[in-house]
Subunit: 217 residues, 2 copies
């Protein structure tokens, strides 16, 4: 069983998806610690409801980013954490921390990376008028929203919906692919080769989506 | 019937898709001229086989880009062309020419724009390890591979395939969406508003794709 920490800052809906997945008998990972940088993050309640150990490491309690990340690292080491899942963790991590956890830390981002890195992705997706968006689970690198891609999910954009409705639809896909990506990693089926994550025995769809859909006359 | 010119430089497989679409009784556009900047482009043969008027405007016959584009414009005007489809036309067009045909010129690009603008897209897609790629029909703007998006099609990338196989799969989608985009335009259902193309009465899929697909246990 891969021992996982989930790092959060807020409501923790992706955390919930990971909790639910880890509760399944055949899931190859277990959450040994949920850590928030905010004491009032609702995700902590979710973790406690699931009987998980939690910790708060508040960045405001530390003079600089280095000491904050040292405290984070100590907490992770004490809990015997082998792997990190960032799930709405809203602090930028220094390259020292990121490199200590290289290829042992995943993040989820609500766009089809490399498109639409950064914040307010859904607003920017709608503004750009693109036909598709989605979400990406990737290994973390020092550059923001960069790193080998493990899983992506794509959905057609309806330009008549607003950003919050689109966010809701993409979030459902996030809840689907984050546990799936963690499972692939925990089963030892993901190997980072250069800038890419190679997935052993993955299946790849040959279907496609068109947006807008051709009209049926 | 919208009077269309198709501009090519090579084999013209997207031209063929447009020829086939325009041959259908209910299609609202007709190709009045196929123009190539290369005399030996195989697309010219396809056009002649379909009984279409062709012209060669060779950029090498002109001292500069301006005079080449003036000749191109004259050819288009003489043929009564109302709308242009670029289909593998390998010359960069100056902003003067582009602005004369603003919102009356489409291009197709083999990626999910704004990702992977430029050449060698499939090689770069595979190198980046992304889960999805596709193709985009967009109005032409002076910036390369930029402009309001009319249609996109997405397909899951199989990282075990090579660029030429991926290109082949994307090309099938190109042949599907380019005629569809032209039809939408010719039916007056596409309106450019700011940086976006709004499509009247389009249908938008709620389905999604995941890559790699979850394994069925």
């Amino acid at each position: 069983m891969l021992k996982v920490a989930v790092l959060i800052s807020g409501r923790g809906s992706n955390l919930q998806a990971l909790i639910d997945a880890c509760a399944r008998d055949d899931f190859p990972a277990t959450i040994v610690r949920v850590i928030s940088n905010k004491a009032d993050a609702y995700g902590l309640v979710r973790a406690q409801n699931a009987g998980l150990d939690t910790a708060v490491v508040n960045h405001k309690d530390f003079p600089d980013r280095e000491s904050f990340e040292d405290a984070l690292h100590t907490e992770l080491s004490n809990a015997g954490v082998e792997f990190i899942c960032l799930a709405g963790f809203m602090r930028i991590l220094n390259s020292d921390f990121v490199n200590r956890w290289r290829d042992r830390m995943l993040n989820i981002h609500p766009s089809l990376l490399p498109a639409f890195k950064g914040l307010h992705t859904h607003e920017r997706v709608l503004e750009a008028g693109v036909g598709f968006t989605g979400c990406t689970v990737h290994f973390v690198r020092p550059e923001m929203d960069d790193g080998p891609i493990v899983t992506q999910a794509a959905v057609a954009v309806n330009p008549h919906e607003d950003a919050s409705r689109l966010a809701e639809r993409v979030l459902l896909l996030e809840h689907l692919i984050y546990p799936e990506a963690l499972r692939l990693v925990a089963e030892g089926r993901v190997k980072v080769v250069g800038s890419k994550a190679e997935i052993k025995e993955a299946t790849y769809s040959n279907t496609w989506l068109v947006n807008p859909e051709p009209m049926i006359e």
